[in-house]
């Protein structure tokens, strides 16, 4: 047989052998090959070690009220409305509480906007006032600069006199 370690196509034979899923005839052929093939032997031993290590991992016992909780959820499902039953399967698990929270937030926001429609345009007015103030200050500075230039030119003439 073609060496399973050398040939990728036969590699799953070694995995199946270590999982004891190989039929007896193929297993016998593989065992004969492994007797004189060190890489396959090493592969087999390492894979068996992995298999044994994985065997030590026993899953946790299931809580006693698992079925009861499930049946409660099924009963709730049955009592739920048509629309909810239609939409719910399309929503991710963690999105469901967020959806109700988001809906509540939207209602509160809409109520707030309806009650105070004047409050929104105020920032725009503040911006206009700021721009005007800046223009005025720049004009004032330009005027001061021009005023300051006059004595600087005239001062030496006064001192010379």
């Amino acid at each position: 047989m073609e060496c399973p370690v050398q040939s990728r196509d036969n590699a799953d034979l070694l995995l199946a052998y270590c999982a004891r899923k190989l039929d007896p005839e193929t297993a016998a052929v593989l065992e004969r090959h492994m007797e004189h093939c060190a890489p396959c032997r090493a592969f087999g031993e390492a894979q068996k070690a992995v298999w044994t290590a994985l065997d030590t991992w026993e899953a946790m016992p299931v809580t006693e009220d698992f079925d009861r909780r499930l049946h409660v959820r099924i009963a709730q499902e049955e009592n739920r409305g048509y629309w909810s039953r239609l939409v719910r399967p399309w929503l991710p698990l963690n999105f469901r509480p967020a959806l109700s929270l988001a809906a509540a937030s939207v209602v509160v926001l809409v109520a707030f906007l309806v009650q105070s429609p004047q409050s929104a345009p105020q920032p725009a007015e503040v911006e206009i006032v700021d721009a005007e103030q800046v223009e005025r200050v720049l004009d004032d500075l330009e005027m001061l600069r021009q005023v300051n230039l006059v004595p600087k030119v005239e001062a030496p003439a006064v001192q010379a006199m």
């Binding site: 990728r8 590699a11 799953d12 995995l15 999982a19 592969f43 031993e45 390492a46 894979q47 068996k48 070690a49 992995v50 298999w51 044994t52 290590a53 994985l54 030590t56 991992w57 026993e58 899953a59 946790m60 016992p61 299931v62 809580t63 698992f66 079925d67 909780r69 499930l70 959820r73 099924i74 499902e77 039953r85 399967p89 991710p92 698990l93 963690n94």
Partner: protein
């Protein structure tokens, strides 16, 4: 009649659930509950989240009863739902790692409750270290490789069924398993 006779028992039960037989659903739950919970638990490594997800799996099965058609093996469908939910959970990062130490502690307690084979303190410690290494090695695998290994090792599924659950080809499954076991051999071979 021929088609009905060829149906696997689980598919027959599911068809009865479709017709409104609640007892058949209870039977399906009884048959597959533990396998599903254990698979999801090993995927997400958190007992509480695993049970919550397993409940969602069976709830989805129940919801889909009216449109159920036995086109594939029942367990293929069941584990496809379970894997899908577990992968989503891992992707969303909803699993709390703090549960890990509690799980180990409880498992240790369960082991000590067996009177005939009560392990010594040293054996307990060695066992805990080994278990922690196995869990870390499995956790380090990419999610799809992890799912493939869990189905292959603990559910004893054939390559063809794993391929249908993962929605890929058999050769892709072989490749996934080969790479996953290669990583596990590098990390766990010294435990022998």
């Amino acid at each position: 009649m021929v088609a009905a006779a060829a149906l696997e028992p689980d598919a027959e039960l599911m068809l009865r659930v479709k017709d409104g037989d609640a007892a058949s659903f209870a039977l399906l739950l009884e048959r597959h509950r533990i396998q599903v919970i254990h698979f999801v638990y090993r995927m997400v490594l958190n007992q509480a989240v695993a049970e919550e997800l397993a409940q969602e799996v069976f709830l989805r099965v129940y919801r889909a009863r009216l449109s159920y058609e036995p086109t594939a093996k029942f367990t293929t469908w069941l584990f496809r739902i379970a894997m899908h939910l577990a992968l989503n959970c891992l992707r969303d990062g909803r699993v709390e790692r703090s549960q890990e130490s509690l799980d180990l502690e409880t498992q240790d307690t369960a082991a000590r409750q067996v009177p005939d084979r009560r392990p010594t303190v040293e054996q307990n410690l060695v066992g805990q270290v080994k278990l922690a290494e196995v869990r870390r090695a499995i956790e380090a695998l990419p999610a799809k490789q992890r799912a493939a290994v869990l189905m292959h090792k603990y559910q004893e599924m054939e390559y063809s069924q794993i391929a249908r659950v993962l929605n890929c080809s058999e050769s892709a499954v072989k490749s996934l398993l080969f790479r996953a076991y290669e990583t596990l051999r590098a990390r766990l071979a010294h435990l022998a």
